[in-house]
């Protein structure tokens, strides 16, 4: 199947619609999502920090607990923002609003729709990352210029989750199935070395954790936050590049199968 059959190159139309919706309806919800990681950072960083004391950061240097969890919360918020936009939002548009059906009646192709929706999720991830980095800077938790790279990396992380999330959502037909997403996200958040090092687990569990995308995002952010880069940095980035490509492929194929029969 040629690219021309999948896309008319008019992603802009999908984006324009997305921004209009934000402007008219849900900008307050979008903005309020920014506070969630900040609350986590303040509560865990300040409250728990007093109980935990210093922890071992990337490269073995001791860091405060707040500085340790901050990059992990940024990664989590990039994931959550992208997942919300690309799952519940997409599910509603797909099954109830029949929005994509309408879009595909026009000259738009499935790749346009997929890319447009995913770019909207990235926009959200970008805004949250920018705001969160600002909060970190104000709290004095930024110690390296590499931390600036956390913003584009947050967008990459969001890209991976959004692309895959939308592909998976295309298989869902009921709200109960959508609940499976929450069942997958909670353990991933709790176990991906977000709030404590992965070393507390026995080896086999560590391997499971290392297979999950959020762990790679957390490690990547943590390395960038202090500017400690190793060969693993490339592995983490590579993981998300592959995840993004696979997700885009899946989403496009699924939308084509659902609508262009």
């Amino acid at each position: 199947m040629s690219l021309r059959a999948l896309s008319s190159g008019n992603v802009r139309a999908v984006l324009e619609r997305g921004f209009t919706v934000i402007k008219n309806q849900n900008w307050m919800i979008l903005v309020s999502g920014f506070f969630e990681p900040v609350f986590y950072l303040v509560a865990m960083g300040v409250g728990m920090g007093g109980l935990v004391g210093q922890v071992e950061g990337p490269g073995g240097q001791p860091t405060t607990y707040a500085a340790y969890i901050a990059p992990a919360l940024l990664a989590t918020s990039a994931m959550n923002g992208a997942i919300y936009d690309s799952t519940w939002n997409v599910f509603f548009k797909l099954r109830f609003a029949k929005l994509y059906q309408a879009m595909l009646q026009t000259s738009l192709g499935p790749l346009d729709v997929a890319l447009g929706e995913i770019l909207m999720a990235l926009f959200r991830g970008f805004i949250y990352a920018l705001g969160f980095l600002g909060v970190l800077a104000v709290m004095g938790l930024v110690t390296s210029w590499w931390a600036l790279a956390m913003v584009p990396v947050a967008v990459l992380v969001a890209f991976g989750f959004a692309a895959l999330g939308m592909g998976i959502t295309s298989y869902m037909t009921s709200f109960q199935q959508m609940d499976l997403i929450n069942f997958a996200l909670l353990p991933m958040f709790l176990f991906s070395a977000t709030l404590y090092p992965i070393s507390v687990y026995p080896d086999p569990i560590q391997w499971v954790v290392m297979a999950m995308p959020l762990w790679h995002a957390v490690e990547l952010m943590r390395q960038l936050s202090v500017g400690y880069l190793t060969g693993m940095t490339l592995v983490h980035v590579g993981y998300f590049l592959v995840m993004t490509a696979a997700g885009l492929w899946l989403t496009t194929v699924r939308l084509r199968r659902l609508f262009l029969r």
Partner: protein
Amino acid sequence: MTDRTREGVDAHALASSGSAPSHTVMAARARALGVWYYAETVLRGMRAYFWPIMLYAAGQPVLYMVAMGIGLGTLVDSGAGSVGGVDYLTFVAPALLVSTVVMSVSGEMTYPVMSGFKWQRLYYGPAASALEPGQIALGHLVAVVIRFVVQSLIFWAVMLVFGATTAPWWQSWLVVPVGVLTATAFGAPLQAYASTLTDEGFQFSFIQRFVVMPMFLFAGTFFPLSAMPTYLHWIGWVSPVWHGTELARLASYGAPLSPTMLAVHLGFLVLCTVAGLLLAVRSYTRRLHS
């Protein structure tokens, strides 16, 4: 379609047989037992989500105990040593029970309440019968409470398995009623508020983000209030979660609690529940009988 219900009772035959109670008798029964009738309806509705609810009820405590109690506990125990004189798992477990039940009640008393008035209009049928709006409000809450009794019992069992309580079982089981009472102390006022809304906007998302989430994080669940700066302590004082957590800690590992504070915590939770119920009954009555 015939008039046969799922249980195979032919309503027509029963009515013309003369052995069915008269309308007056049935209406009197509904008036007397309306709360339970409505609770039954809601519980039957929950059957559709039985397995997800059970998976959630059993999976969530296990996940939180492993991640927070054991994972985070490793850090705390090697850092501060102990919290409030016990290891971290013991400290955090009863608080997690209270918090997770409150998080669940915030799901049950927002969109489903709005749905009862607006989308599915489930409340209007019963309101046209002998049932009073107040009984409908109370019945909905009772059904939810029954769910939380089960959920709290499962959580308590998980605590026992993880060895997260140090008190004997005939004391630590009290975390179950404490969890349920905390759920009503937050759920009843929330139900009252949700029943006043006619249009869904960002209200429920805001409650989730600016009330439920901060309560989970700042009301003494993961660390004692005293670990925070003093100007943040008020978040605990006004949160049902903190009052419930303090009681649950007393039950679970005998955390020190003066009789005065015991009365304050219990009083706060009961007061919230009763006030919430009165407001909910008033609001349901206003909306269903207008």
